[in-house]
Amino acid sequence: MSPVFHVLLFATTERLLSLSPVDLVVIALYFIMVLGIGFYLKRFTKTGEDFFLAGRDMTAWIAGLSFVSANLGALELMGWAGSAYQYGILATHWYWIGAIPAMLFLAVVMMPFYYISRTHSVPGYLKLRFGESSRALSAITFGFMTVLMSGINMYSMALVMKIILGWDIHFSIWVSSLTVAAYVFLGGLLSAIFNEVLQFFLIWLGALVVSILGLVEAGGWHGMVHRIAERWPGQDYTHLWSDLGSFSSNPMGIHWTGIVLGLGFVISFGYWTTDFLVVQRVLSAKDLRSAKMAPVIGAAFKMAVPFIVILPGLLALAVLPEKLVGSPEAVHGLHSYNEVLPLMLARYCGPGLLGLGITALIAGFMSGMAGNVSAFATVWTYDIYRALIRKEASDLHYLSVGRWCTLLGVLVSIGTAYLVMQFASIMDYVQALFSFFIAPLFGTVILGMLWKRATPAGGFWGLLVGTISSIGMWLWVYLDHSALRYVALSPRAKDMAENVYRALWSWIICVVVTVVVSIWTRPKPERELVNLVYGSTDIPSEGHLALYQRPIFWAAVVCLVFVILNIIFW
């Protein structure tokens, strides 16, 4: 037995189940492979462009799978499976209306501006469009949010290790984070993207087996629905839209306006079109057509993710003999909602298959963490260090800063992981962060891209006031819970509903402030808006391409499937 396994075994405390030697081999092979890829790719990472944007030579498929895989982090796998158990199929909204329209909008409308402007990052685009102050504000808030997200990923991963394998939580945080640090340090975004595509396959192949076996046990979809209705009378867990007519008729306490406007428009468009963690993957594409196709490919796979994340949560409602509870009550042998996926894995998977399922979870956590770390390194190096600290230096210097920043980002994330342990609900915490920083950012970017009259002062003040107002609303409800009736339009609204409405208000405030300030201030001259704004950018025609080669055609196909799925599960 290797010294590593001795260390792992001595680090154990308590466990939900025991892994066999076969499972440990499966997990060990994964770690060997991701580190091996990192070492192999180091020789191809010689410039800043290589490290931060993977040399801009990714195909549409690789960029697209990486785009969706970077989002398949800890929260996607554990959190949303738990949310499906708690809220039922309503959680699917975060995958369908909360993702697909925005991803297609990014592909068809926004990608040309990001790609043609040759920006390295989203804050970099704001610099070109609105000036240095907007870039600094968005870079700093993004950096802050990213290390917090990374900490959440680490904590979630360590929690899984503790629950399933019995590994000490602190030990798990350090092992996982140092592995990610090593392969991102070596190969930068190229290494992160390679591993994300690998992780995409592992996540699907490791988690899909749970859904298939769960459906077999429950007697198919109709059998599952019947069992849920029998076991949980009076609550509807299996309809997407039909119970959203009032706040009190669904388990989430949300109205359809919140889902459509808050989630489907502001949160979703903000995250998928302006969060640099995901946009960075698409910027690595080799040409504009690939950059436009990548989000369309990502959207197609994103639409299928509920079958490996939401479905196990619903199946757990139908087949698990025990009742899961919220994190604060999960003591004395009770399991929390977030443990639903590991419990389902333990229910169906024998030796080897269990190792694959655990590897899928670890892969999801590591892809999310790597996404945060690589995006943080880019924004820190280009938008904070080069913009504010050292403006003139060689490409080699910035490459070196990026590498060391990867390690710094991991260390800060480890610190935040310990902070995250204090929070009862991981998901609600993250949604709050999105409404603070991403919702107003979407207002600024979309006005910048589509409205020539938006001025640098308008962009900056809109972003600042939108962000402050979002944090202010959160504090208002935190200090006086009765304020929920104003912020979320209902005193019965759950945390998720509150986050959705807060995002909507902060976006509206950002847009109003940007428009008002822009009207009263001087716009940029037309020549400075070339390749940045609709109407001043020459977007290459796709008229010479066959229909099946055009991104707009595939976007229409994905959109059609999206509509059909919503009708089926209405």
Binding site: F44, V197, F201, L353
Partner: protein, 72 residues
């Protein structure tokens, strides 16, 4: 084959890992058939490890062979 940029394709790495996983999980499933565990998982009678391991092996071998590095 080496990719357009002189490096191994990501699909080759995927092929290697899935092939290894397929062999391991298939073998574990076959072993369980010959020596059934004392506390079997739910739906043990379906022998999911065998057919899922076989599926991984087929997918892995496809990518491994299709993207195996060739001399230029």
């Amino acid at each position: 084959m080496h990719g357009e940029y002189g490096r191994l394709s990501i699909w080759f790495f995927i092929g290697v890992l899935l092939t290894l996983y397929g062999v391991i999980i298939l073998a574990a499933g076959l072993y369980e058939v010959s020596s059934p565990p004392a506390h079997p998982v739910v739906l043990f009678r379906l022998h999911a490890s065998i057919w899922w391991g076989a599926l991984l092996l087929v997918i892995g071998l496809f990518y491994f062979i299709r993207f195996y590095p060739k001399k230029p």
